[in-house]
Amino acid sequence: MKLNRRRFLKYAAASSAVATAGALFPGASFGSWQKLKNNSGIISWQKAPCRFCGTGCGVLIGVSDGRAVAVKGDPNCSVNKGLCCMKGYHSVQALYAKDRITTAKIRKNGEMVEVPIKEALDLIADKIKKTMEKHGKDSVAIYGSGQWTIPDGYVASKLFKGCLGTNNVEANARLCMASAVTGFMTSFGIDEPMGCYEDMDHANVFITWGNNMAEMHPVLFSRMLANRKRRNNVTIIDFATRSTRTSQAADKSILFRPQTDLAVANAICYEIIKNDWVNWDFVNEHVSFHKGKTNIGYGTQDHFAFKDKAESIDFEEYKRFLEDYTPEKVEKISGVSAKNIKYMAALYGDPDLKVTSFWCMGMNQHTRGTWINNLVYNIHLLVGKISTPGNSPFSLTGQPSACGTVREVGTLTHKLPHGVVMNEHHRKMAAEIWDVPLENIDPKPTYHTVEMFRALDRGDIKFIWIQVTNPMVTMPNLRRYRDGALKDDRFVVVSDVYPTPTTDVADVILPAAMWVEQEGMFGNSERRTQHFAEIVKPPGEAMSDTWQIIEVARRLGFEKQFPWSQDEYIGKIWEEYRKFHAGPKHEMAPYTVLKKRSGVQWPFVDGKETRWRFNAKYDPACTNGKDFDFYGKKNHRAWIWARPYEPAAEFPDGEYNFWLNTGRVIEHWHTGSMTRRIPVLHNAVPHSYVEINPEDAAELGVVNGEMVKIISRRGEVTMPASIRGRGVPPRGMVFVPFFDESYLINEVTLDAFCPISKQPDYKKCAVRLEKA
């Protein structure tokens, strides 16, 4: 069906009427438009999850003449109930920018030359084979993404871990979610949140821990605000290091000094115990107390290694540990008044209030990321406010499938789709399902993300294949890793949809299908798996990342492990992958069910989704005969950890006297490679900037828009100042969004990480400012 002028006018007429209806009848939905028969077919609609954050909003993609032309919220999706944010509404425009990569390219004599994609795939297979022959199996690597579909990550893991025998598989979710994972594993022995978004409809108190939800998870934030408007007993507290739109909308904004959330969380626990707000029935039945190593380092040197050691302690020892964290002592460390610490403790401690804590990058991108996750769980566990509607410590995800593809499929060096490479039982399961010899799967993890790029720089890795991510913008201490990738005997393959600083360092560029140009699944923050069909055709020779990997695997001789045809491979992969999660703790929905619904939550047992885990009323995996069963741990108890406050890896001093904090804005997705090609989003925020406190700006003699040089021990960047913009940092801190490749702020940041999760801290390093 061709979109001629007349059809376009009819589409405009219909859109105008739908928009008017939306204004006159708030909440009006026209979701069943596509089901009408005998209509003109002006536009047809198909469901998909949005790809621009981890919320997992259901969208309906309007297609006309084979082109995605419109987006609306899916009223049948419980996540967003028909609402979208500005990125969601404009998302399909990201498919059609003029410089879309549609053909493969190979570097020949220093120039990128277009070639048929088959030639590029042949070269990739040949390079992998020869590199492994010459330098060993661990000289090749794949680096993927929380924007990989579940099948993308699954075939990557199967090829590299199962067939090639290297654990050099990592994904950019290491940079955004790893501390959440290790937080869950150390506190509960099993990954991903116990609650769900429905908690928002029950909670009386929301505390956002270093989490600008208004910009990062706007649809969920709207749901929180709607609850506050509808019910008269809802309070929102923003606990953060800078003032943001979230602070403006909150009932109370409390600022803390960077890194000192550790101390404040302990002070809250101190207050809860001191005032006897402990839920003893819950604690005695379901909690045990532990401590780990301290002074654990920051990982800034190559080959850094750390292994924590848990020791059991009793409640009295835990109570003594907390004596260092009285509100009065912590006020001096954190800058948070003792009164405000006591206020937050009282909210958590009030048995009549249901409390949900939200966090995302502020707690995860933290050199003690695992610890601060543990400490917020401690608070909820002490008062028994967990795993029940409205009582939820809730770690939000940044990317659409960080949970689905990275955490569930296990696309990290130590992981398998079920369990870890170090566990023989888990390796046996993988070898059997993958139909590979057990010896193929190496029991030793290799490199986490930062160390993987260090290995590329050192030359321990010679070949790396990067898919659906842009590390040459996102790696901290970026210059080292870009220079490393450019070294002579490194071979870099990049699969992407647009040119980026990462394709700039590539030897081969593969044109990738984007989002709804392929069939796939994502997994969102609340354990919801969301299927989408191929709704429009990919341009030129672009193909899905999954199929690219299958093509290379077959060229390497693994036809038996990758036997599927192109018209059925996603369904077949899903059903193979499901075998890893069989059982009530993680059962996934069948392919046929996923295709029908706007997402299905796991564990999906006997046709029923599980909304609250570890609670016997809702979770079929509970078997201990009690009201709660924290079955991830051998002792069936959740673990409270004594974790101290330790300072950041780098902090302001006489020479570098400002904190640098980096992050995102609502208009742009990560490095901006897609959203900067959407005119309305690009025009809204056309370039990055440095937020400076007005008093600091006055001292520097800088006015809004003037250029400022930000200098650290690693590099410098000069960019325009933003004073009294949407975000205002406190004195002594600057904030820079990282979406703009023209201002590579990660040349300034530090590659220190949490020694347990190996997740870097993008929120804290020391810089100085100069008027440019």
């Binding site: 007349r6 006018l9 009819k10 405009a12 007429a13 219909a14 105008s16 009427a17 739908v18 008017t20 209806a21 006159l24 009848f25 909440g27 009006a28 939905s29 026209f30 979701g31 069943s32 438009w33 009408l36 005998n38 209509n39 003109s40 002006i42 009223p75």
Partner: protein, 83 residues
């Protein structure tokens, strides 16, 4: 060759019947709301005479309470302006 779109408000409880009535008319496309008592109507007629006949038929519908124009385009009028 005019193209118009309207918000059609059904008589009380008659949304489904209104959709059926409108869909049975030539040159009409109907998009009902899933959750509100409102229907989007897009008309595309080949000439002025047909348009006038359609307008008459719309006026006679018992299931239609009101019709509000939201978009209008007419080739002929544009041509007249250009002359």
């Amino acid at each position: 060759m005019p193209i118009f779109s309207y918000l059609a408000i059904p008589a009380n409880g008659a949304k489904e019947m209104l959709c059926a009535d409108l869909a049975s008319l030539s040159h009409c496309e109907v998009i009902p709301s899933d959750n509100r008592e409102v229907v989007v109507l897009v008309t595309d007629t080949p000439d002025k005479a047909t348009e006038e006949k359609l307008q008459e038929k719309l006026k006679q519908l018992q299931t239609l309470q009101s019709l509000s124009l939201t978009f209008g385009y007419d080739d002929e009028k544009i041509k007249e302006k250009l002359r």
